[in-house]
Symmetry: C2
Subunit: 747 residues, 2 copies
């Protein structure tokens, strides 16, 4: 395979607009090392096969690697929650019925043995012949340092997600040599990703890299260099023509100010140089930066600087273009922000933590459904966040983050239609929910106990005391997700239990927090008494969770969402939900203005990716500080990329109505734009939409869609029948693969 | 340090009696690699320090290494239960109050950072100065492949078991940079062993080895060699003067027959030889054998063979000698059997599994208290067996083995007086007991569910159906152990709960299983009805658990223990308890004869270590088979070593009455011997006993003892007052460090 895109153009920061698209969009989903392989002739006739493992184990192992790469000013800075490990010993098996004997190739990462029909084969065979007929192949692998994985490929046999795995086969023998019945063993279907060749070892996984040049370089006093890569980026810095002996320090900056602040920058690396002859050197860790301030000690010189850009080769399938150039730029910078934060997992921000945070990841999942539709990254992130039993803490220690984890799993099923992960994770969903339910207080509500972080949002003065309504709402939605997932795995008793809990809790939420005078849910109960503090959080979630009746919705819109007296939100994180709530209420024109003002505001400040926090009231370098540190803020945070989601779901108006887009709706809403066009990815192809006030053009590659729109005049569509729904509302049924062009008159 | 013992004599198999003692007994408890170190001058003024870790984590990791070394005829053969892993990320801390600033040396296995008073120091310092005053030092270590460990040593500061550790410090910061209160974090005291130097890395641990010569070598056809090492042994085989190119296969045998059976021997190794010049080669894995049958392919020649004996340098502190030479030999072979099976952990047998089995280990613990008093090996084994939460299976998948695990923990406290491990393990005791209690049936009894192995013993035709009385007895004792341990950790509610459960269960056991006509507990209930099958198991345990009244004891003795109609026990494993029960009933003379006949029987068959199973009715090579395989039986099984325990506890008569021998009793019982003498180790020194029918000589280095004996005449002891207890029974209070010589007349 060969790269067929033009990334030297795309990624050369010297090119005036760093937001040119196309390059990222067509990157094939293969890893760098696969490029080195040639496919042997025999493999052409072989079954598809992929490396497999115990579900979640590779994801946990890989996330440990990634999350322990954080450094703070050069010092190791690991997470503060529990990290789990893979099971070091795993049994893999599959049953076959073969028409003819078949030679299979067999690889494992770890020490292993192989059983054919329960009989141990000698040694650790790399090839074996499975005879014709019904047979069972077992492979048992031990690996303490890396994850036990296997790869088997024959003409029809191939390891894949249908193989069964267990960490305890319970296969003992009695004194006569008779084998136990293994009736107590739980088998799960194997986990896998895209390691589809024998040589593509999962333990050797690395993100892809490619060389990039600097946009500008300035010599500084003492032989140093200040390098600008033109926009926020990520990778290894490469020093060329390096010579001499001594230390060279690289101070990284998302801003020029940060790179120049040798005492205040968040990340740095000290390189020991000992090169009598001119040579090249790479930094040891990949880092986020736009600027790098390179300061060699006396005696060390260097000629020039470039970088190895490091990235996940995800495919950009979602598209959006419209008549507003600023909005197009917002979409592009959002997509780039999302791309930088889509790595081994969906991470929070590329500069500082690079940890997997559930609340951040939840938003990435939603944006992903409108940009990459990269389900493996959703699944990896979900497994990594959950870790293993027993539960000793909330996900990331944060109560709300536990709840987002539940909700994300159901969303994943709704968008992808794949219940494999639900089946694999359901026991861990149950145990995490048991943990939550056991932490309810005497009133059946969640309140922060010792070791619980009630986060909600970064906002000055936000109360976390008592029983916060926002947390109860998220628990309620989590219980609904549990009920839905219980049905997917045929746990009827569970489904009933969780649904009842959700119904009871929802009633309690409204009885406790709804304040009719204020037309809003209040923020919390303290000492058993509802406060009269109104915040946006619970109210906006209540809208898109569809927990409010029409009257309540209108009250909330007026008294909370559009009420400037209620404390403003200053993070793109919660602006995501605030604007989603307004979109759900049909306020697209208002939200469009808000997007242009808020995300446009960051662009006006020179943002080349979107930030962790943005308060338009702040000025200059005030924008760079957070956590009490001058450059504490991350200027490239996944949760800043929400316009991707809002524009795809609420302007192009595409969303699944049943799992995996078997049915879906398209409700275009121009929100004041002259035209817009774009595509939304689905499991089986894209849904493309183009809209003007006079014409709607829609084509879906999947399922059965419903186009809904309003028109002042009677609309028409060649060869299709539009249904009038009354009040100027119309519907058109969309068949798979067919393009519909509707002539209408927008209201 | 220098080896001061004479192991070349002891371990040279050419020496006629392989049972000469002395060598093993004085081996210092240091590891080979420490011999290479010189102690730097500054260390002379340094605090004691040892490498520390999260309790249980090193033990689990090390047991994974050991248990995955099993091979069956050269093929990898791992356990069938779940293997756990260490936590890859651990925070260690300690608070100090220093009179003067102190420079400390700091090492960690893994990537790490250091905080002093909550402030992150730059990089990963290996030295730092802690200022005078109150300070806290935190070290956070990440290690995926090996266990995170740390070693800190200054003048007064040193890592030890008082440091606190956690796998989730929950130290987050809010948007202002303020640190959380960590109130939800559980800290345990650190685990450690004897890695007392900075260079003694726990991950580098290896058992000790030393060269040994073969006893005899016979050339076989085709240039091969049949080597006899004179007795059962363990280690690496060393081929000398090896030359040529080709494979050389080593067939190991505990018996000559096994080594010669190239198709039937249980273990073998194939060595690839490619040596143009004569050279040496070691086998890759250490193995058990007495005989090795070495068969080089044509083109490969060798001159001679020796071995590297591999062993744990435990110190043999218990002693026993008596007027019966056969009994002395039994004791010696038992001690040697125990020594071979005391390795990284107490294992079952050295040939085959080399796994940690709870039922086997439980007996090793008891023998250990009368031989090595090596508490670290007890603790390591206990942690390794338990693994981690969640509980998904019984220990080793065996119901009875779960119960032995509980009972062993309380025993350890009783013998050692150290409640550290109880404190560290109590949460895992609770969760394992929860698992058991949740598996009781509607009648509150344990019965094998899917995946449960009801083992009891290797015995033909032994029923495992229904509710087996033996299992209920063990559960009852486990509940009593839980109650006792709950008190040790100040869990009063738990203590009460577990005691009540035990009381209720004991009543139920007698109501259900006691058959007055049979004068015995019956074996089981099937379909809710007690069977009339009487076996020895529950009855003998009921005796030394002290669950029977006097009348019942006498009934059981007659109708079960001394009744030849009740199926005989054919494993040394259960003979252990059978003979213990008889000793508890004062049947020492009978048990002495049984020991001589049963263990003496194995010696007569040529045993050089004691076996997994011994049925005196079998003949010749019948003794070698088990599990349907001709050489399936292990001829060196820890559970064969019980005479050590019986002779120490019921003949020398020494046992603790309160934790750690604070109080203890000595009840010598010659059982027909003319004389006996010996020593029993305790945490603080030995208790030595010498007895003849006319004189008792006792000296204890610990606590307060009570010597109890019967005498036909009025006994006397110079300088001490003997109390008459009536019926010819006497007692003498024993003070620490003083020798008592009692003149009496044995009954």
């Amino acid at each position: 395979m060969k790269e067929n895109n033009n990334h030297t153009v795309t990624n050369t920061p010297g090119t005036p607009s760093p937001f040119r698209r196309g390059g990222r969009g067509v990157r094939p989903l293969v890893w760098a090392f696969l490029l080195l392989l040639t496919i042997p002739a025999e493999a052409q006739q072989a079954a598809k096969a992929t490396w497999i493992w115990y579900p979640g184990d590779y994801e946990i192992w890989l996330s440990n690697q990634m999350q322990n790469r954080r450094t703070e000013r050069g010092t190791f800075f690991p997470p503060f929650w529990r990290l789990d490990s893979h099971y070091p010993l795993i049994d893999f098996h599959q049953d076959f019925e073969l028409k003819a004997p078949e030679e299979v190739e067999l690889r494992a990462e770890g020490q292993y043995n192989v059983k054919l029909d329960g009989k141990l084969l000698s040694g650790s065979p790399t090839r074996l012949t499975v005879p014709a007929g019904k047979h069972r192949l077992n492979i048992k692998v031990y690996n303490q340092a890396n994850v036990p994985t296997v790869f088997v490929r024959g003409k029809t046999i191939g390891t894949d997600g249908s193989w069964l795995v267990t960490y305890e086969d319970k296969e003992w023998i009695d004194a006569s040599g008779k084998v136990s019945d293994q009736s107590g063993t739980t088998w799960l279907t194997a986990g896998s990703w895209n390691f589809n060749e024998a040589q593509a070892l999962p333990s050797a996984f690395k993100l892809r890299t490619e060389p990039q040049r600097a946009a500008s370089v300035t010599r500084t006093a003492g032989g140093g260099l200040l390098v600008d890569f033109g926009r926020e980026t990520f990778g290894y810095v490469r020093l060329h023509g390096l010579q001499g002996k001594g230390q060279t320090t690289l101070y990284f900056g998302e801003s020029k100010e940060e790179a120049l602040s040798t005492e205040g920058c968040e990340t740095l690396e000290r390189l020991d140089v000992n090169q009598p002859q001119k040579g090249e050197k790479l930094t040891s860790l990949s880092k986020a930066f736009r600027f790098v301030n390179i300061q060699p000690e006396a005696g060390v010189t260097l000629d020039s600087v470039s970088m190895l850009y490091e990235y996940a080769p995800v495919v950009e399938r979602g598209r959006f273009r419209c008549s507003d150039d600023q909005l197009n730029k917002i979409w592009d910078v959002a997509a780039y922000t999302m791309h930088l934060n889509t790595r081994e997992f969906f991470i929070d921000g590329i500069k500082r933590d690079r940890w997997v945070w559930s609340g951040d990841a939840y938003q990435s999942y939603l944006m992903n459904y409108y940009l990459y539709f990269d389900t493996p990254t959703v699944n990896r992130t979900t497994f990594a966040l959950r870790g293993k039993d027993p539960v000793t803490s909330h996900v990331n220690t944060i109560m709300d983050y536990t709840f987002y984890w539940f909700i994300g799993i159901y969303d994943a099923y709704q968008y992808t239609g794949d219940k494999t992960v639900v089946t694999q994770l359901y026991p861990r969903m149950q145990s995490l929910m048991d943990y939550c339910l056991a932490r309810r207080n005497k009133d059946g509500l969640m309140e922060g106990l010792a070791g619980d972080w009630v986060f909600i949002d970064w906002a000055d003065g936000l109360s976390k005391k008592g029983e916060v309504s926002f947390e109860q709402l998220l628990l309620c939605r989590s219980l609904e997700s549990m009920a839905l997932c219980a049905n997917l795995v045929n746990d009827q008793a569970g489904a009933q239990k969780y649904q009842q809990l959700a119904t009871d809790l929802k009633a309690k939420i409204f009885a406790t927090y709804w304040n009719q005078n204020k037309g809003a849910l209040v923020h919390s109960c303290v000492n058993g008494q509802p406060t009269d503090n109104v915040t946006r959080y619970a109210n906006m979630f209540a809208i898109f969770f569809d927990y409010l009746n029409n009257e309540q919705e209108q009250q909330v819109k007026k008294s909370v969402l559009l009420n400037p007296q209620v404390a403003k939100i200053t993070t793109p994180y919660m602006r995501f939900y605030e604007l989603e709530a307004l979109c759900a209420l049909g306020e697209q024109p208002y939200v469009l203005k808000e997007m242009k003002s808020y995300w446009g505001g960051m662009l006006n400040e020179g943002a080349t990716s979107f930030w962790e926090e943005y308060d338009p009231a702040k000025k200059g370098t005030e924008h760079l500080s957070m956590y009490g540190r001058p450059f504490g803020k991350s200027l490239c945070h996944a949760w800043g990329a929400s316009p991707i989601y809002l524009l795809g779901k609420y302007y192009l108006g595409v969303k699944p109505l049943s799992a995996g887009y078997a049915t879906y709706e398209v409700v275009p809403n121009l929100g004041g734009l002259q035209w817009m066009e774009g595509a939304v990815p689905t499991p089986q192809g894209d849904i493309s939409v183009r809209a003007t006030p006079k014409q709607l053009k829609v084509k879906g590659a999947v399922g059965t869609g419903t186009l809904r729109f309003a028109s002042k005049t009677k609309p028409s569509c060649k060869g299709a029948k539009i249904q009038a729904k009354g009040n100027g509302q119309y519907e058109l049924q969309l068949e798979k693969g067919r393009e519909y062009v509707v002539t209408y008159q927008a209201v």
